[in-house]
């Protein structure tokens, strides 16, 4: 079988390859996770996996207040910049809602962490985190965003923020917006020719042979 046949075997014609590659390119216009309906039709899945996904999609874990807090936090962690949109543009809060149901070990630390944060803000600002001013929110986050210099009494907040930050990064960089931002250039049929010459030169690796 040659390369053309292999492209055919992938269900593509030579002409449609470029269409596929374009279609596979991350685009900021479409984001989101696959819907349960799509999953039902999916080949290569065991029945119980499909049923499990359906069930998870039908449940709601976070309250609207918790989701609002998650959204503010996610956008503080990954804001919009010159390169790409924010965490909420990439539907990170929706991903977090799903993943805590999928990996239930996240549930209590997330719920409890959000509550801890609200109580801190109530004591400081007499209002929950989402209702605090942007300045107040950042002052709060500064106390829990740097594990090595955080005060011991902030430890629960540090632990929570570590988890929140990691879930935000997971959700963002696995979205179309995030994959484009980070510059992952693969996942497409190609001929791997090794490290480009200019990169070999940049690192002085021209003469390294395996």
């Amino acid at each position: 079988m040659n390369r053309r046949d292999s492209i055919k075997a992938l269900g593509l014609t030579a002409i449609s390859t470029s269409v596929l590659i374009d279609a596979c390119k991350p685009s900021e216009t479409k984001t989101g996770t696959s819907t349960p309906e799509e999953t039902t039709k999916e080949a290569g899945r065991e029945h119980w996996e499909i049923e499990r996904d359906k069930e998870l999609h039908s449940e709601t874990f976070f309250t609207s207040h918790e989701m609002a807090t998650i959204t503010v936090l996610a956008d503080i962690i990954i804001p919009k910049d010159d390169v790409s949109g924010s965490a909420s543009d990439a539907k990170v809060p929706e991903f977090i809602e799903f993943i805590v149901k999928d990996i239930p070990e996240h549930k209590i630390p997330m719920r409890g962490g959000l509550k801890w944060l609200d109580l801190q803000c109530l004591n400081r600002y007499q209002k929950p985190f989402v209702e605090a001013s942007a300045k107040e929110q950042i002052a709060m986050i500064d106390e829990i965003a740097y594990p090595q210099k955080a005060k011991p009494e902030m430890k629960p907040g540090v632990t929570f923020f570590n988890r929140m930050r990691n879930l935000t990064a997971s959700g963002f960089y696995t979205s179309k917006i995030g994959v484009k931002d980070i510059g992952y250039a693969g996942n497409a049929p190609n001929q791997w020719q090794g490290v480009p010459d200019e990169v070999l030169k940049q690192y002085g690796m021209q003469d390294v042979k395996i």
Partner: protein, 578 residues
Amino acid sequence: MSEFQIKKSPTVYDAIVVGSGAGGGMAAYVLANAGQKVLMLEAGQYFDPKLDAHQLKWPWESPRRGAGTVRPFGDFDASYGGWELDGEPYTKKDKTEFEWFRSRMLGGRTNHWGRISLRMGPHDFKCKDGLTDDWPITYDDLKPFYDKVDRMIGIYGTVEGLENEPDGIFMKPPKPRLNELFIKKGAEKAGVKVITGRGAVLTESIKGNNDRAPCFYCGQCGRSCKVYGDFSASSCLVIPAVKTGNLTVITDAMVREVITDKDGTAKGVSYVNRRDLQEYQVNARLVILGASACESARILLNSKSPQHPAGLANSSGVVGKYLHDSTGASVSGFLPQLMDRKRYNEDGVGSVHIYSPWWLDNKKLNFPRGYHIEYGGGMGMPSYGFGSGVPVMNGMVPDRNGKMKDAGGYGASLKDDYRRFYGTGVGMAGRGTAIARADNYCEIDPDVVDKYGIPVLRFHYKWAQEEINQAKHMQETFLSIMKEMGAVVTSKIQGRETNYGLEAPGKIIHEVGTIRMGDDPKKSALNKYCQAHDCKNLFVVDAAPFVQQGDKNATWTILALSMRTAEYILAQKKKQNI
């Protein structure tokens, strides 16, 4: 009349093959192509990589973004199964550890394996240190079959002429990635040899094979390949064998036991269908087990009869004993030199581009045998867990302005850090020889059955000091390579309290040795053709016959042994010996 009855098929096949992985697949392929009527029983469901692979999917096509929640190696991994199967427990004895990975699907674990395809060497069959039993065969006995497997299935690599790392018939290898060049340089400074990897991926087409296409370098072999560009037993053996018209495959057939006649010979197999939960019995002139080392041992131990009171093929008492998995330990970190690196597609192949074969002389070491090193890293596809190291690493190296800053953070500067650190990762893992010992074993748990009523396996496995010493040596080697290449280590530094990061037995998924071969029927279950000493029409073709595994991954040897056994069966049939 009771509804509970065993459905018996009147057909008598030439052979029944239990299991559709590398061993079962190869035996069925050889026999079916020689005109034998073969019935294959697979405990899992049908799987064809062409239809079922999650190849070329993007992370957002998984609601869990590729997390390993339902599949241990990620949501796109080509394995139905895992460390735990619903309703199919296994137990452990004396507070020892063993982790058992089972894939329940056509092709078994070969759909997702790493495609690292190493031959065992002459000293792996006949040891120089006298510490373990020799195989009843030599490398030279198996070499012609390794050669045939290379030609038939396809493997890339380079001819190196190493004494105990035999060369094969290789296709051109993939070029190294950038981090692999750093590894090569660093490892050489640390005195560790690095050579081109050897993998079961088609970097060229196979003449005359129109079913399989060459690799198109997505690096996703673990998801299995829609164009059959790598080796899976499903795509390369079972599905082609079905096309001969001589192989019938029954999926969802969970085998209980091998049925024997009054004279002790095997006459068939009983199984429960996982879908309708009905009981079936099928008959054949030969029974070939390829259910995986532990599952085949389980079937034999559960096949008790007046002629075989200790279980079939077990008059020696060795079935289940000498279980051994490869040792494994690892280190990971990042290369600060690669921060802000240029982006390009470096997916390459889904097997290893480079590796280090064992390079030292044991005379000066406090452990026997050795290990090889597999390497990883680079600009991979983001998935769940992406970037979790960044808020730690950003406190370990200077920022853009050359200043140290506090680890962690948020906002624009953290977002910039995620970009800066992308593709800087580097890691290495050792895979070493564990010594086959009679007191590392699986046996039938007398108290526990699975949901089909089949008695389950109970494991007893302890690492010995030699293996712990080997893991310590791995850690020291890895740290010295990391240092020489200028990498920063981010993984936990492992010490005595964690056995130097030595993984629990079973975790490397190279378990072998439970139905060992040998010339002496008192000390082995199978002869040198993997034929049971006690039952001439019973054969085992998975990794169970291994006497002693080298540090090489088992699959290529399973394929060669199974092909050899299948050819032996054909020759014996011709002579009417079986």
